[in-house]
């Protein structure tokens, strides 16, 4: 039972890790909300599915899928900058538009990949326990490679500029960084990652569905908050960032799979997703300070610095509330 739950969580959770990484970039680094990721996930998956079904090598199809997501992110950026729309609203609009585009790409609501060559067919010809293990191994390799590449990127000069750009736009601009450029970079990267996750998902489950992205943003937020609850990386701890995304994503998936295995109908899963998010937020807001009082440190969701007027304290302005 437990083994099944773990393997199911790995197989269904690992394709989502790139998506959750994309959500992390926008949510925690940029401190913004981009709903485009839902549309990008389905679009990327569909582009890859159509190409794979047509016999194109899966690696190429996955690249094309990621590129389609990157394009969606670019369009969201342009909408936000040209029309001065908040990213949240631009993403909402894009999410709607991408549904129609994805449906056009697929030509029908669902496209099956049965019989087509995916990245998994070579290693797992027959379904079963061995196939699931092999699938999760391949997925794990890909996900670890992506997380590592991302962590390395954050350590570069460009990555550092991205990390700095979210909280303090005036500061990064005074250091010669275009915050508009960083917005574009973050949305392009996060949507490319989300679309890439979609390409993994369609190959894992064997079909693409026009609705497959629905709800994935909230799931991503829940997963990121869960990860942050346990790891809480600062902006400079890039390895911790990668670990938080991986841990949060798998934990979130574990909760869902366990709920399913313990007999919850599939229709209730969205409720569980919502509940996970609420519990993660509540834990950070209430549980962590409460435990802290008893000397138990649970690393909490970062508190925003509250503006305090000069003269309120003598000289040394408290920069921000400490955790807990």
């Amino acid at each position: 039972m437990l083994e099944n739950i773990l393997i199911d969580a790995l197989v269904t959770g690992l394709p989502l890790i790139p998506v959750f990484l994309g959500v992390y970039i926008v949510l925690r680094i940029r401190e913004d909300f981009d709903l485009t990721v839902e549309g990008s996930f389905a679009l990327g998956g569909s582009v890859a599915a159509i190409m794979i079904a047509a016999g194109i090598p899966p690696a190429l199809a996955m690249l094309a899928g990621a590129a389609s997501g990157a394009t969606a992110g670019l369009v969201t950026t342009l909408l936000s900058l040209a029309l001065r729309l908040p990213v949240l609203l631009a993403g909402l609009v894009m999410n709607m538009a991408l549904f129609s585009i994805t449906l056009r790409v697929l030509g029908m609501p669902t496209v099956s990949l049965s019989g087509a060559t995916t990245i998994f067919t070579a290693i797992a010809p027959a379904p079963g326990r061995a196939a699931d293990l092999a699938t999760s191994l391949v997925l794990a390799l890909i996900v670890v490679a992506i997380l590592t590449a991302f962590a390395v990127f954050l350590k570069t000069r460009l990555g550092l500029a991205l990390r700095a750009s979210g909280v303090n736009a005036r500061m990064v601009r005074s250091q010669g960084v275009s915050d508009r450029g960083m917005l574009a970079l973050s949305l392009i990267m996060s949507n490319a990652l989300s679309a890439f996750g979609g390409t993994l998902m369609v190959q894992m489950q064997g079909y693409a569905d026009v609705n497959m992205g629905s709800g994935i943003f909230v799931a991503g937020v829940g997963a990121v908050l869960l990860g942050v609850l346990f790891v809480n990386p600062s902006g400079s701890q890039v390895i911790r960032i990668a670990v938080a995304v991986l841990l949060g994503g798998l934990l979130y998936r574990l909760i869902l799979v366990a709920a399913l295995r313990f007999g919850l109908p599939a229709g209730d899963l969205r409720g569980v997703t919502a509940l996970t998010l609420v519990v993660a937020v509540a834990a950070q807001a209430y549980l962590a300070p409460a435990l802290d009082r008893y000397g138990i440190r649970l690393r909490g969701w970062r508190r925003r610095a509250r503006p305090s007027s000069p003269g309120e304290s003598h000289g040394v302005i408290p920069m921000e509330a400490s955790h807990g």
């Binding site: 350590k155 570069t156 005036r170 601009r173 302005i317």
Partner: protein, 275 residues
């Protein structure tokens, strides 16, 4: 005479033009600063000091007039494009650095100011050594805390760090916008000493806006008094040395402006109080 490092030609800045709350922040500012010149700027609230800084840094685009840096017309350059030429220290210590990032990451960010952000590593061994050595000069012990988040530092430490960041790339122009305003007197003294040291060492053109008349008189080679969007007095070094705090206040009040600043009045009291 050499080409001025900074030149403002009839710069005007209007906020909310055509609306009831239209504000004329700058009404034709003319200024020419030679390379290495250090001016202090005083004036009451609303005189246009911070607007002038905004126009020079690129944070605000003038409604009319030209801004020239080192002979180049930069009027339409956004602030991040000017950052290679102009370094800026804000009045609020929290603006100058990113609280979520470590001290060394903040410094590394400043090290690439005015250059393309590439995919090379932000921190190399050589860079770490350079940054550690720069921070060590502050004498605050921050060189042993390079991995600490900047959000954990005090206001004075953070402002000192911002000063170091401003000096990392040897800017042509340094803008100090009331950078001591949020600090307690002792900390302000320390950061002021650091300011003097850095400006002398870099030899950059410096504009220091302040509400503290004493600082305005002690620092720099030239004093500008602003009122209602104009520079009303431009006092060279020779004239400045003869001035007292009360004299500067007279210059401001003489323009019809009210001196409301608490620190300024405190200065006056200490000066006038019979010993």
């Amino acid at each position: 005479m050499a080409e001025p490092m900074l030149r403002l030609d009839d710069v005007r800045l209007v906020y909310n033009r055509g609306r009831v709350d239209e504000v004329h922040a700058l009404r034709g500012v003319e200024l020419s600063l030679q390379p290495g010149e250090f001016v202090t700027v005083v004036g009451s609230n609303g005189a246009g000091k911070s607007s002038a800084v905004q126009v020079i840094s690129g944070g605000a685009r003038p409604s009319s007039g030209r801004v020239r840096l080192n002979g180049v017309d930069v009027t339409n350059w956004p602030d991040y494009r000017r950052a290679g030429l102009v370094a800026r220290v804000f009045d609020d210590p929290r603006i100058g650095s990113a609280p979520e990032l470590s001290i060394e990451d903040n410094l590394a960010l400043a090290l690439d100011r005015g250059r393309r952000r590439t995919l090379r590593f932000a921190l190399s061994g050589a860079r770490r050594r350079l940054l550690r050595e720069r921070v060590a000069r502050l004498g605050l012990g921050l060189e042993d805390r390079l991995h600490d988040r900047v959000g954990l530092l005090s206001a004075g430490q953070r402002q000192s760090l911002t000063m170091i960041m401003a000096g990392l790339t040897a800017p042509r122009v340094l803008l100090l916008d009331e950078h001591l305003a949020a600090l307690d007197p002792a900390t302000a003294q320390r950061v002021l000493a650091l300011t003097a040291e850095l400006v002398t060492e870099m030899g950059c053109t410096t504009v220091m806006v302040t509400h503290n008349m004493d600082h305005a008189l002690r620092m720099g080679d030239r004093l500008l008094v602003m009122s209602r969007g104009r520079i009303i007095h431009d006092i060279p070094h020779a004239g400045k040395s003869g001035l007292t705090v009360a004299g500067v206040v007279d210059l401001i009040t003489g323009s019809g402006d009210v001196v409301s600043d608490r620190s300024l009045l405190a200065d006056l009291e200490t000066q006038e109080a019979p010993k």
